[in-house]
């Protein structure tokens, strides 16, 4: 907002435009969150879903039981692993898409978006077919005699990682395309003319300028990964039960202890928020803030 021009009418217009989304958010997010907060402090009554009264015991239980703390830790670590692998797959694709001179880019975009049109359950079952004991990957590895018996991809931690990465690569790619497209070719060219090698251009120009995209993509994928429960539930086997979201699911649908499920949810929300805040602080201190502020002032 460099020019400082402000139409007084605009302020009212802003409020008017903000009204519907803030109403929706209040009714469908804020109020449920408050109810959830209240649940998390209630006492579980066996046989009843919704607890009663007020207690800190749910929080004490979570904080003193290493089972849950480990679950949280495993979930957060998995999020990090998935984000890193997703970035490694998504970045080159996004870069190629952003810089290609291919005429039918729309076609590439449709191909990129194709997985979005498919339900996640179907995607998971698709991967089960591919990764299963009789799946094509195992068959291929067996015929090439790399393995002498089928490898158990499914119902393991590895299966969870593979499918989580697969599910999130298109999203990450989409989030990276815009920021990469914003890097003007003349910047890369002038770096080259100054004498920079290709690795120098990547290291000094392309990657630093991609950080806003990498950051926003990573935060979105990270929060999506740590909240995911279907993938670990369906393909995680025993290791899937160590995910905090699966634990929460178990407390809702199996033990029917909604009070404790709400407590787990509160911890999940808190850690997500902390991660987001810390992450953006770190990146800001890396002077990327300058970049973002430049974007805002345009």
């Amino acid at each position: 907002m460099k020019n400082g021009m402000r139409n007084p009418l605009k302020k009212h217009l802003y409020l008017l435009l903000l009204a519907p989304p803030s109403m929706v958010l209040t009714v469908f997010l804020l109020i449920p969150l408050i109810i959830l907060l209240q649940y998390s402090f209630s006492v579980h009554v066996p046989g009843q879903k919704i607890g009663m009264g007020f207690t800190f015991s749910n929080y004490l239980r979570f904080l003193t039981d290493t089972y849950y703390l480990n679950g949280l830790l495993i979930t957060l670590a998995t999020g990090l692993v998935v984000v890193i692998i997703t970035l490694l797959f998504a970045y080159p694709v996004a870069y190629l898409y952003a810089k290609t001179r291919f005429k039918h880019r729309g076609l590439l975009l449709i191909m990129l978006l194709a997985p979005f049109y498919t339900n996640i359950i179907i995607k998971i079952f698709g991967w089960m077919v591919i990764l299963g004991r009789q799946g094509i990957i195992n068959k291929l590895l067996l015929t090439c005699q790399i393995l002498d018996r089928p490898f158990e991809f499914l119902y393991s931690y590895m299966g969870v990682i593979i499918i989580m990465v697969y599910v999130h690569v298109p999203m990450m790619t989409l989030l990276l395309i815009g920021p990469i497209q914003n890097i003007k070719d003349s910047l890369l060219e002038s770096a080259r003319i100054c004498g920079s090698t290709t690795t120098g251009v990547i290291k000094n120009i392309i990657l630093p300028l991609s950080i806003p995209g990498i950051l926003s993509g990573s935060i979105i994928v990270y929060t999506s990964v740590i909240a995911a429960f279907i993938i670990p539930l369906l393909v995680g086997g025993d290791s899937g039960k160590r995910f905090i979201a699966v634990m929460m699911y178990t407390h809702i649908s199996v033990t029917q202890n909604w009070a404790f499920a709400a407590t787990i949810a509160m911890f999940l929300i808190l850690t997500s928020l902390t991660v987001i805040v810390v992450f953006s602080r770190i990146v800001k201190s890396m002077k990327v803030g300058v970049l973002i502020s430049e974007k805002l002032s345009r």
């Binding site: 002038s190 920079s196 430049e294």
Partner: protein, 357 residues
Amino acid sequence: MAFVEIRELKKTFKNVVASDVEHLTIEEGEFISLLGPSGCGKTTTLRCIAGSIEPDSGSIFVRGREITHMPINKRKLGFVFQDYALFPHMTIFDNIAYGLRYRDVSKVEIKKKVSKSLELVGLPDFEDRYPHQLSGGQQQRIAFARSVVYEPDVLLLDEPLSNLDFKLRKAMRFELKRMQRRLKITTIFVTHDQQEALSLSDRVVVMNGGRVEQLGTPNEIYENPRTLFVADFIGSTNIIQGTVTHCDTGRGICHVKTSSEQQIPVPFRISLEAGEKVHFIIKPEKIELRKARESEHDIEGRISGVSYLGAAFNYEIDVGGFLLEALDSQGDYNTQYEIGDPVFLGLNPAGIKILQR
């Protein structure tokens, strides 16, 4: 061998000739402009030299070293982009130092060179700022500093002044020339603005359709255009196209019939054959306006348009249906005309150029 030499450079895009430069040599320390309308091949030629476009054939030499197919970063060139292309995430210091980091220069030396070049462009103490905190003119100076700090063999400028406003553009023109003189750096400047080209360059290359249309000093280009294109492109020019009906050698006047059947008497020193097809080229400032006939060469006309330019009046004169442009910079109210006024055009035969078809 010349400092920079281009031989039979050719580049086509989808069968359209973008650049077709037969031979061009540039001396050391020379400021040369590639001038032409958009699509004339000036930028393509510049980019072939820079290395961001690979020519189809031909060769480019700098300092006797062939660079035609050399990687961009090995060419030892400087380049100032139209959008300046400063690295937005780096401070001004890091921007300018960027090229030095890829050369064998010590840290102390880098510091010295950066502050020296900041002084050159008149922006000392700007080291810690970021590009977005600078105005367009300042960014442009930094871009210049960045591309000369490592002392490249040749400096390439791609319309660096076109994003600036009128006043700044004029100021930067002097600035650019001053800095180039001081560094004595061989410079190739691409522009579509003939004023920039004429005022800055030692020599101007006028390009059209990928080819070199004319090469010469600014004065030669302006005063003696060799082709119709050059005459038309450089400044506003009256071009009288027609067929010579007969020449009166006694009075030194050739009668020309234009394509729209108007008869115009043009004073000229050389006798032309009747029936010859010619273009007469008359610069607007070479036409003198008179209230009364002073010489038998004077052409009679009527003012059909006046535009006030501040320092001069620009008149449009109707000569028997043919429109001529005249520039009167006398600033004298006595010589002022209104639309509809009869006027006599004093044409100095020396100011009239002829192009035979």
